[in-house]
């Protein structure tokens, strides 16, 4: 007599067949397994042992979330989300309320019109430039994209370091004064960089980034201003503050967005577009 394999027993336990097949075959397989279990004491014993073992691993009961947990998640998330309408405005309101096919057709029309416009503007510009040759330029300025790339790199590194500091703050234990003192030192170092980044992003039309850097500034300033390092009460207050504003999450979101921009910038630089 051919005994059932452990895999067949496992899938019998979970009410499925060991072979991934269609419904009819599945139930036929399950029936055969059941028949075998009735007639074979050895397999029945093995099945019982398996069931006992798996019953020992009870489902994990997650800690209860408060009633307003969903609202709390939303409050943390909302500042990072851009309304869909605004995104669509970036496409000149293209195809609002239209089907996919119609949107594609309009897209092509818009695309062709834009291409013509750009070509026309380029041609006129060249003509105008040849008529009015400027005097010799003495200073050659660094191309704007290079500066932009540098800002993105600095910001990306700053957010990366800030994220690590916030993770450390989140997991910091009050009974470790050395760690708390190290946190204050790191905050002091990051505070200067944060203020430079804040100045750079002012007027860059990125309110989410500006707001997050403002919040980060407040938190870093508080951490840095504790002369003897962070005591237990200060640590708990800062952790609460960080959690209530979901600062770590916001920094994480921004860091991932910036690092994508950084990668894109690198590609452009490597591609010799500048």
């Amino acid at each position: 007599m051919k005994h059932l394999s452990e895999e067949e027993l496992v899938w019998r336990h979970y009410g499925e067949s060991a072979n991934q097949s269609e419904g009819a075959n599945q139930s036929e397989g399950a029936n055969q397994t059941d028949e075998h279990l009735k007639s074979c004491a050895q397999c029945a014993e093995a099945f019982e042992a398996l069931t006992r073992d798996l019953a020992e691993i009870a489902p994990i009961d997650p800690p209860q979330r408060e009633e307003g947990y969903g609202q709390r998640v939303w409050a943390a998330l909302a500042p990072s989300l851009e309304p869909y309408a605004r995104r669509k405005r970036a496409w000149l309101g293209l195809g609002l309320g239209l089907g996919r096919g119609a949107r594609m057709r309009w897209g092509l029309v818009y695309g062709a019109a834009l291409a013509l416009l750009v070509a026309g503007a380029f041609y006129s510009g060249r003509q105008w430039e040849q008529q009015r040759k400027p005097p010799v330029t003495a200073v050659r300025q660094a191309p704007a994209p290079v500066k932009q790339h540098v800002v993105v790199v600095v910001l990306s590194d700053h957010l990366d370091q800030s994220e690590r500091l916030l993770v450390e703050l989140k997991h910091a234990e009050p009974d470790s004064p050395e760690a708390a003192s190290a946190l204050s030192d790191q905050a002091r170092n990051l505070l200067v960089a944060n203020r430079i980044c804040r100045q750079d992003v002012t007027g860059a039309d990125d309110p989410a980034l500006a707001k997050a850097l403002d919040r980060l500034d407040r938190l870093l300033a508080e951490m840095a201003s504790q002369p003897g390092g962070l005591d237990a009460a200060a640590l708990a207050r800062l952790q609460d503050e960080m959690n209530s504003e979901s600062l770590l999450f916001q920094v994480r979101v921004l860091r991932s967005g910036i690092s994508n921009r950084r990668k894109a910038g690198k590609t452009r630089l490597n591609g010799g577009a500048i």
């Binding site: 499925e16 994990i60 800690p63 979330r65 669509k88 999450f249």
Partner: protein, 193 residues
């Protein structure tokens, strides 16, 4: 503010028409179930909360790709499972990088059936708990996630396959490997039974 009573599909239509606030209703409606599965996979409260936020963020950004025939709850649940799996993978990599450091006790929890917590058994049950915890730690992130989905969330292998982005047979193999490893690791407990 979007009314809570409206269906998920109505909320999605409103969001895509520019009403960002409508997403708040979806977040409020599905946060608890996402937290439950995230916690079961990750075993850590703070990380599970992060996973919930990340899943809703990814969900919002991918909402244009959401098919109207689908169920939003199932769709966002799958995203949360993927986020938890990613988190588990990156945590495992970080732990490997920090060789020699002690692991935090709350890192991973597996709750076990506790039928008779008498005082005489407390010490033993503590050891048993640690053993089970370590058994769960021995699973790869995919095995652990697949096992949690099958054993604790009672998902079918098809659903597990879709959630993990693998074929149903591969999902089945992952669950089976997990069961095999757990039984092998927990075999010494059987002697004491």
């Amino acid at each position: 503010m979007f009314r809570m009573g409206k269906s998920d599909h109505a909320a999605i239509r409103a969001i895509l028409a520019g009403d960002k606030e409508a997403y708040g209703a979806l977040v409020a409606r599905h946060s608890q179930s996402l937290f439950r599965v995230a916690f079961r996979i990750i075993g850590n409260e703070a990380d599970a909360e992060d996973v919930v936020q990340e899943a809703f963020l990814r969900g919002y950004r991918g909402l244009e790709g959401f098919e109207s025939r689908s169920n939003f709850g199932t769709w966002i649940y799958r995203i949360a499972v993927r986020c938890a799996l990613d988190r588990l993978g990156s945590r495992r990599r970080n732990e490997n990088d920090r060789v020699g450091e002690e692991t935090e006790p709350e890192r991973s929890q597996v709750q076990v059936a506790d039928s008779a917590p008498g005082p005489g058994r407390l010490l033993l049950s503590g050891e048993i708990g640690a053993m089970r915890e370590s058994a769960m730690q021995s699973l790869t992130p995919t095995e652990r996630t697949a096992f949690v989905l099958r054993h604790m969330e009672e998902r079918t292998t098809e659903e597990i396959g879709v959630a993990l982005g693998i074929q149903p047979n591969a999902a089945k193999q992952a669950v089976f490997r997990a069961v095999e490893k757990l039984r092998r690791r927990l075999a010494p407990l059987r002697v004491n039974r």
